[in-house]
Structure formats: C-alpha cells, structure tokens
C-alpha cells in the first residue's frame, strides 16, 4: 500500500528530567494515508504536541518504528532529518512563528531556499504567488508579518507550509491564538486544502474543529483511546 504517508508502530516517548520520568507517549500505533485529514485531540498534557513533533521529525522517539512516505525515519542524522522535513513536511504552529524581519513573500519562500537544489528565482516567485493566492493574500506579499492581523499571519504560515509541496501538513492548535471568527476562516482554508488533496494531521482540543476532520485520534495519558 504505497499511499500510506505515515505509519507508526509501538512508538514511545519518555522525557527524562532531573528526577522525573514522563511517559509522554506509550505504545502508539497509527497510520495516515494519502488525502487523509486526521484530528488528534485529548486533554491538556496527554501528549498531542509530542506526537506531532515526532511525526514532524522535530524530536526522536524513545522506541518504536516510524515510516514516513515509506522511508524508515526512526533513526536519522540531524541533517538528513532536516532534508526530510524540508521535502515532506509542512508545519503550522499555534503561534505562527513567522520571521518578523522578513517580508511575507520571503517568509513563504524560506523553505524553498533550504532545498538541496534551490529552484530558480522565477520558479520561486511563481510558486510563492500561487500559495499566496491559495490563502487569499496575494496583495500582501511585501508586508512584514507584524503589519498583518493574527488570522492573516496564520494564513501566511499555511502558505509557507504548502510552498514545498509536502507529503503532509502538521498543524498544532492553529486557532489557539485567534478569535473564533478568524479561527473558523482558518479551518475553512484547511478544509479546502484537504479537498484539493493535501494530507493533514491536526492537533486541536476544540471538538467542533475535530469534527471537521475525516478521522479522529483520541489521546489519553499518552495512549490512543
């Protein structure tokens, strides 16, 4: 089955702080297929963000097996992980994480510049404008992030996540810093993207938004319930 994007088997994550061992994730088994829209929900501290970090190669699992796009990514060198993040994963964070010193355009283009073979200037402009259009911000490309509203900033972040044609979008509480109306708009954008074929995995604890996803994973104390 080559349309499985993410496959996790017996994934555990243990955080060892001074005296305490936190079992953030315990024996997680899951798979996400092409075109899927998965919502992860659960109470605060149950391990949602941790799971997303593992999926996005921002951290390594303590044990278990992880295949991303059919590639075994359980143990990777730092630079190899960076390469895979760049090619296959698009991140959308709760706090947007845009770079204030750069224009909207440059923010979106950033992942392309980290390609092993960065595309031509023209190709970049084309692709960035395409993504800007997709999130409805074509007229803001030369603004700085702090000149935009929260919702607009999050849309820039979505455009940035999309720019490199990732295999999967990983989204952590995209509406957490937004009012409910703007939040709805963002969810609308995500739903549209999924309809056009983008695979999405989203963390949320808003049941309304979780309901918009095609499938749902419930976490409780690091376990899928």
């Amino acid at each position: 089955m080559d349309n499985i994007k993410i496959s996790m088997k017996n994934i555990c994550k243990v955080f060892e702080t001074d005296e305490l061992e936190t079992h953030a994730l315990d024996q997680i088994n899951l798979s996400i297929t092409q075109g899927d829209y998965v919502a992860i929900s659960g109470p605060s501290g149950c391990g949602k963000s941790t799971l997303l970090s593992l999926m996005g190669l921002l951290d390594e699992a303590s044990s278990g097996e992880y295949l991303l796009d059919g590639i075994d990514v359980t143990k990777l060198s730092l630079d190899h992980a960076a390469e895979l993040r760049n090619q296959k994963i698009g991140f959308i964070f709760q706090s947007f994480n845009l770079i204030d010193e750069m224009t909207v355009f440059d923010n979106i283009a950033l992942p392309l510049s980290y390609h092993n073979k960065p595309p031509s200037k023209q190709a970049i402009t084309e692709r960035v404008n395409q993504c800007l259009a997709l999130v409805g911000l074509s007229n803001r490309s030369q603004h700085k992030p702090n000149q935009l509203s929260g919702g607009q900033q999050q849309r820039v972040a979505i455009a940035r996540a999309l720019v490199a044609n990732p295999s999967i979008l990983l989204v952590d509480e995209p509406t957490g810093n937004l009012d409910s109306k703007t939040g709805d708009q963002i969810m609308e954008v995500l739903a549209q993207l999924n309809e056009q074929g983008t695979t999405i995995c989203m963390v949320t604890h808003d049941p309304r938004y979780a309901a918009m996803a095609k499938s749902r994973i419930n976490l409780l104390d690091g376990k899928i319930s």
């Binding site: 970090s53 921002l58 390594e60 960076a82 760049n86 980290y114």
Partner: protein, 809 residues
C-alpha cells in the same frame, strides 16, 4: 541621594543572586582597569608629575663637545682639569656639583659585594633636596680637596647590607683600599635623579676627592666620559645665555692648554645645557604613549564586553522593571535603579583594579627600572585615587545610560498584561553591530602591533649567537688599593691565576680574555691606499678564545700565548669584515694582508665565522685584537656538568695576592640573557597584551553573538523546523555578522595607518613586508575567533530536539 542609597542596597540584594554575571563584570573590568590605572599612574609619574627636586625646572646637565678639525665631534667628553675649572669658575648656576657613577667591590663585608658607587661634591645633595633616614649628607667638611673619606649610603644598602642596624653611623665601608666612614643614610623616599642612565641607583655615595680619575687632574689631553656637571640656573639667566657663557669659559681654558697638543690642533669645545626633566624623560615618552594606547584599547574591548553583559541583564530584568513602572516609577527612577547596580559593580571592579595596579607597580619596580624612568616614585598617589573614582563613576553612568536606552518605557506599561513577551526591552541590532565593530577594530590593531613587536623581540632572542656559551663563564677582577699597579706587575698575577684555574679538575680551559659581548662599536682602521676609515666593532680577546667558544675558524689561526706575550700586531677578523675588505681590495688575499690602526700596521692572521651579538639586527664586521697586558678579564670553560664557585676562585686569588678580589663571575649564558633583557621584557609585555586582547575579544564576541542567538531562538527553531540544515543556520549567523566584522577590520586598518603616521619614528623599523604576514596572521586569528563565536552559541540548538526549542524555554 537617599534614594540612591536605598537603590544600592536593593541592587546588592539583587546581584547576590547573580554570581556569574557579577563575577564576569568584576573580573573583566577589574583586570583591565587595573592595567589601565597602573599604566596611567606610570604615565602621570613620568610625563606630568613634577620632579621631586626643589626648583626642578632650573636644574640642568652640562654636556661638552670637543670639535677637532676633520673629525667626528667628541661628545660627552671632558678633560678633568677643564671640568674642574668649569665647576669652580662658572657664574651661571647658583649651585652646581660634579658626579661620577662607577662600580666597585666592597671589601670589608664578608661576601665582598659588588656595588654601584658614585662620587659626588657636597652641593649635590641639597640641590636634589635630599632627606636622610639617619645622619647627614656631605657638607663643607667634605668639600673638594678636603680629603675626608666619608660615605652616605642608600636606604637599600642600609637594609640589605646592614639589616637597618641603628649604630650604622659607627660603621664604615671599604672600596679600592679606602675606608669611608658612614655619615648618613638617605631617606627611603629619596629618588635618585637618573642623570646618567635610566634606573641607575647608587648603593653608596663617596667623597669626591677619591674619584678614580683624579690622577688626570693636570692632564688636558686625556678625555674622560661619564663625568656629569649639574647645576641650578640663576633665575636671571636664560638657557642660551648660560650655554654661551659656559662654552666661552670652557673653550678659553681648553684653547690655552691644548694648542701645543698635536691631537687637538685647532680644536674647540662647547657645551649644551639639557634640563634634568628632559634627561630623565629621555626617549621613553612615545613608549609610554604606545603602552597607554594598548591598554586603553584593552579597556575599550572590555567595556564592549561588559556593555553586552549589562544589556542582557537589563533584558532579563524586564519583568521587574515593568512592575516598577506599573507602581509609578518614572523613567528617571528606572535609571537610578540601573545606575545603582552599575555603580555597585564598578566600585567593586575599581577596588579589584587598585589591587591589581599595586601588584603591577611591584612588577614595574622589579622589571622596568631600566626601561622607564622614575619608576621608584611609582606608588599609590592622589592622581591614581582621583583617576580611579572618575573612571568608576563615568563607566557606571555610561553602562546605566546604555541599559536605560534599551527600555521602551511606553511599551513597558503593557508588559504585565502581555505576559512579558514583546518589545519593551530590546537590544537594537545597531548597538550590537557597534559593539562588534569596535571590538574587532581594536583587536585588529592591538594584535597586529603586539605580534609585530613580539616577533621582532623573539627573533632577536632566539637568534643563534654563532658561538657556544655552554659551561663558559666570564670572570672579572677588582683591586682594592690605590693606585692600581701597572700592567706589567699585574700580568704575572694573571698568569698565575690562569695556571691555577687550569689545574682545577672542573676546568677544561681558561684564558685571559674579554667576554664575547664586550665590543666597542666604533673602532676604525684604514687599508693601504684608501683614505676612508672603515668603522667596525672591535674586541680584545685571549689565546684559544675561538676554541673555547667553539666559534669555527675559516682561515688562518687564532692567537697564541706568544702573540699576547710578544704584544704582536695581529688581528683576527670575522667573515663579514673579510668580505668588506675584499670588496674594497678585490685583488688582494685578505688573510695575511695588513690593515692600519692609526699608523700602525696590523696583520690579519685569521678569519673566523660570523657571530651575531644579541643587540644587532644583522651580522656586523668585527675585528679582534690580542688582550692587552694586565687586563683582568677571563673566560673559563668548565667540563660538562661541573661547577666552580665564585668563592673557590676568590680563595685561589687570595693566595696569589690578597689585594685582588673577584669583581664579577657570570655564566655566559646568563650574561647573554642579561643583554636580552629589554627583548625579554618586550616579548613578554607584547605577548601578554596580544593574548589578553585575543582572549577578551573572543569572550566579548562570544558574549554578543550568543546573546543575539539567544534572542533569535524561536526564529532559529522555526528555520530548523522547516528544514534548514545546521550549516545553513551557521552561515546565516556568519552572514549577519560578517559586515560588522569586516567593518571592524577596515576601521582597525585605518587606526593602524594613523598610528604608523603618528608614531613613525618608533615604529618604522618594524615596517617591513613581514607586516603583511603579521596582518594575515592577525586576520586569521580574528576570523577564527569570530567564527568560533558564531558557532559555539549555536551548538546548544543542534544538540536539543527542535520541539523543545519551539516551546520557547
């Protein structure tokens, strides 16, 4: 004021919780300000402090010049009767005195120490405002021709040789067979004026009438050096008038008494007056300025480092400041809070600095007395205290000012609501760039200058001599008694000593010879058919000298005992001089040809491989004449790992003739080191400064870049999350700072050019194409430091999972 006190208490309380911040600031500022205070006080003492002598501005030294037709003027030389006449008949000084510095062995003390003795006329002490720890100075009873053998000893002599015994005035000292009753001890605070050379401190002052050249008192044709006439100019007489009058006076008697002398036909004498201040300052002015510039540079680098520390600290205190603002603190109140903290830190730093400066004074007293004048006057003084207070206050103010400029007071009020995130306290990119530029610029200058000077000194130090000093010693003798016996009576004693030395089992070889470092620099000789004299350096050496020093002979032979006994007119020259001679006379074989020393022909019997003396930059031509009869210099070579003590030689000598004592006995290797002393001081000072600069710049750049990396943590994490590799992040940090670093280097080059123009006299001998090499090395060092400073703070980001970084802890 009261508010400030409360704030200081509060600051003290706060800082106790930040030991690493406090210690970084205090150590950085304490060390560099310590060096600054030390050099600043030294500069003050040397350049601005009035000389500690009454009416010092009217004190002058009189130097005479004898101009003989068609010859180089003879400078600094007097005839004994001419000098005495000048002293007795002059009417431009209200008081004057003649002084001569010399060396002798004290023969009544058990260990017969070598001492620096000075013969002086009684007017000298009151002229220099001398005070006494005990007793009195010379008075009318010791005036010229009183023949009253008494001495005034230095405080050091009293302490070192007599353990400060209270009955010192009942003691006496004996030099060259004359016993001098001690009539006084100079006060510890007495600073002997360096009228002959820097750092000279007499151990004992002896009555004038016993000076060594009194036998020349009726001899006008013998010119002597080292005799110094100092006087206090009458207020009504100008410098020029005095020069004219004294020149006339000296010339008149000179002409009357030398007309008949063949050497001095149509000769004239004149004098110049130099103020004591200029003599003592000599040419140390630019050296002290250079040192000061170097230290100020270090302080600026340190200040840049500490500015960065203060800025990070202020950013960290944001929450606290926001609470103050919410409680109604005005901008000026916040400034007071910051000022209290910086004042406290600077006060602690300056206290450490004072301790370090005092330690520095000790070092200077120990190692720099021969390099800088007046270092004996260096001590904790009012100037230093005022400088310390001014420096501490201004730095405290500057650091507080920079910190308070970071605060956006309006935004601060909203800080509490927004949970501390945001732009209330920010280090502007510009300030950071300025810090980097200034550090790099100054580091470039200091490292380049110091490594160049260091290289120069190190080359001289490590340059091979061309002979072997191992196991070899130089021995000098002293005769206690007046007058010294004529040469033909001394020679048998010398021969006997050499025989006895040779019989010692430890001794491999002994010869009557000067050490290789003794050289007259301006000996002249002529070649047949060539008028122009050749100037070269010359030494007098014994038989088997070159075998003893293992300096290879290239042609001919070296001196034999017979050469010395027969007073043969022979010379051994070095290869360099041989080359010079054959350049002039290409068709004559140099070996066995003759050179003329005056009218006397001398045969070249040997050519020896070049040797290079420590103070010469290049190989010089050199000729060696046989040791003169009765000269009491020896070279002794011991068998490997053997030791022959000074006392043993003293015993041997005593048995031969008890009037002779050992004057000095030193290992040639140590002697070499002594000659290298200025280079050693130069190398260690510049080496230390270069290292310190590099270290401070490295710490500083690291601090600034790591702080800016800290500030950009989320940005870096985001970049990593979207797929940036480590390399890309490192390049980003380098790219962001390469502009500032290059600007710093360019600024450094501009400062260097300015320095080279301003100090061209001192520095021009260091201008060579090696400077380009040194510049390349400097650039490499600064680049490595800058790259390291960019990379190291990033390492923590590469070792932690990116998810943790994004959590923003």
């Amino acid at each position: 004021m009261n508010n400030l006190l409360i704030q200081i208490k509060f600051a003290w309380h706060n800082l106790k919780k930040k030991p690493s911040f406090v210690s970084s600031v205090i150590i950085t500022m304490g060390l560099t300000l310590g060096a600054l205070l030390c050099v600043l006080t030294l500069a003050y003492v040397i350049l601005f402090k009035p000389l500690p002598y009454p009416d010092a501005e009217r004190l002058f030294r009189v130097d005479s010049t004898v101009n003989v037709e068609q010859r180089k003027p003879l400078e600094g030389l007097y005839s004994y009767p001419g000098l005495m006449g000048l002293y007795q008949r002059q009417d431009v000084f209200s008081t004057s005195a003649v002084v001569i510095n010399s060396n002798d062995v004290e023969s009544s003390l058990a260990h017969t120490p070598a001492m620096k003795v000075s013969f002086a006329m009684p007017e000298f002490f009151p002229m220099m405002g001398a005070r006494y720890a005990i007793g009195r100075g010379f008075e009318q009873t010791e005036a010229i021709d009183s023949f009253n053998p008494v001495t005034v000893i230095s405080y050091k002599t009293w302490k070192n040789e007599f353990d400060l015994r209270q009955d010192i005035l009942s003691q006496s000292v004996t030099f060259s067979g004359v016993t001098y009753r001690i009539i006084g001890v100079l006060a510890e605070s007495f600073a002997e004026p360096a009228i002959s050379y820097i750092g000279y401190e007499s151990d004992a002052w002896l009555t004038w009438d016993y000076n060594f050249r009194r036998d020349l008192r009726d001899n006008w044709a013998a010119l002597i050096s080292g005799y110094i006439l100092v006087g206090k100019l009458q207020p009504s007489i100008s410098h020029q008038q005095a020069e004219q009058k004294l020149s006339m006076l000296l010339n008149e008697t000179w002409q009357q008494n030398t007309t008949s002398h063949p050497h001095f036909k149509n000769s004239q004498t004149s004098v110049t007056l130099t103020s004591l201040k200029d003599i003592i300052l000599s040419d140390s002015q630019s050296m002290i300025y250079l040192l000061l510039i170097g230290i100020v540079g270090l302080v600026v680098i340190a200040c840049a480092n500490v500015t960065n520390l203060f800025m990070s600290r202020t950013a960290e205190k944001k929450q606290q400041l926001a609470i103050f603002a919410a409680l109604g603190a005005k901008k000026s109140h916040l400034f007071t809070t910051l000022f209290a903290e910086s004042l406290l830190l600077m006060s602690l730093s300056i206290m450490l600095a004072m301790g370090i400066a005092l330690g520095g004074f000790e070092l200077i007293h120990r190692f720099f007395t021969a390099i800088f004048p007046r270092v004996t006057e260096l001590s904790l003084n009012g100037f230093m205290l005022i400088a310390a207070i001014v420096i501490a206050l201004s730095l405290a103010f500057i650091f507080a000012r920079i910190s308070s400029n970071m605060i956006n007071y309006r935004a601060l009020n909203t800080a509490l609501q927004s949970g501390g995130k945001g732009t209330q306290v920010q280090v502007s990119k510009r300030v950071r760039q300025i810090l980097i530029v200034s550090q790099v610029a100054i580091a470039t200058v200091l490292i380049l200058v110091n490594t160049s000077l260091f290289r120069e000194a190190a080359i001289t130090m490590t340059q091979p001599l061309g002979f072997n000093t191992e196991n070899s010693y130089s021995l000098g003798l002293s005769y206690s008694g007046r007058p010294r016996p004529p040469a033909e009576q001394v020679q048998p004693i010398i021969n006997e000593l050499i025989n006895q030395l040779a019989e010692q089992p430890e001794v491999q070889m002994a010869t009557q010879s000067n050490p290789p470092f003794n050289a007259r620099e301006d000996a002249t000789f002529t070649l047949v058919g060539h008028e122009d004299p050749i100037v070269t350096s010359a030494n007098m050496i014994g038989n088997d000298y070159f075998s003893l020093l293992e300096q290879p002979l290239l042609q001919g032979r070296e001196f034999t005992k017979t050469d010395l006994q027969a007073k043969a007119q022979v010379v051994v020259i070095n290869a360099e001089l041989a080359a010079q001679i054959s350049a002039i006379n290409p068709n004559t074989e140099v070996l066995n040809s003759q050179i003329y020393f005056g009218k006397i022909p001398i045969t070249i019997i040997g050519i020896v491989q070049n040797a290079q003396l420590p103070w010469h930059k290049t190989v010089q031509g050199k000729f060696n004449l046989p040791m003169r009869e009765g000269s009491t210099g020896f070279l002794i070579k011991l068998h490997p790992k053997q030791h022959l003590s000074r006392e043993r030689i003293g015993e041997l000598l005593k048995k031969i003739d008890p009037k002779w004592t050992v004057w000095d006995y030193v290992n040639l290797h140590d002697l070499h080191l002594q000659y290298l002393f200025p280079q050693i001081i130069m190398a260690s000072t510049t080496g230390a400064l270069a290292l310190l600069t590099l270290l401070l710049a490295a710490v500083g750049l690291y601090g600034i870049l790591s702080y800016s990396t800290q500030m950009r943590k989320t940005e870096i994490a985001t970049r990593l999350a979207i797929g940036a590799k480590r390399n890309a992040i490192f390049k980003l940090m380098v790219k962001d700072n390469v502009g500032a670093i290059s600007l710093g280097i360019i600024l450094g080059i501009i400062i260097l050019l300015g320095l080279f123009i301003g100090f061209s006299e001192v520095l021009q001998e260091y201008l060579s194409y090696y400077l380009i090499l040194m510049f390349a090395i400097t650039l490499a060092m600064i680049s490595i430091v800058a790259l390291g400073a960019a990379y190291l703070p990033l390492r923590q980001y590469f070792s932690k999972p990116i998810s943790t970084l994004l959590r923003g802890e």
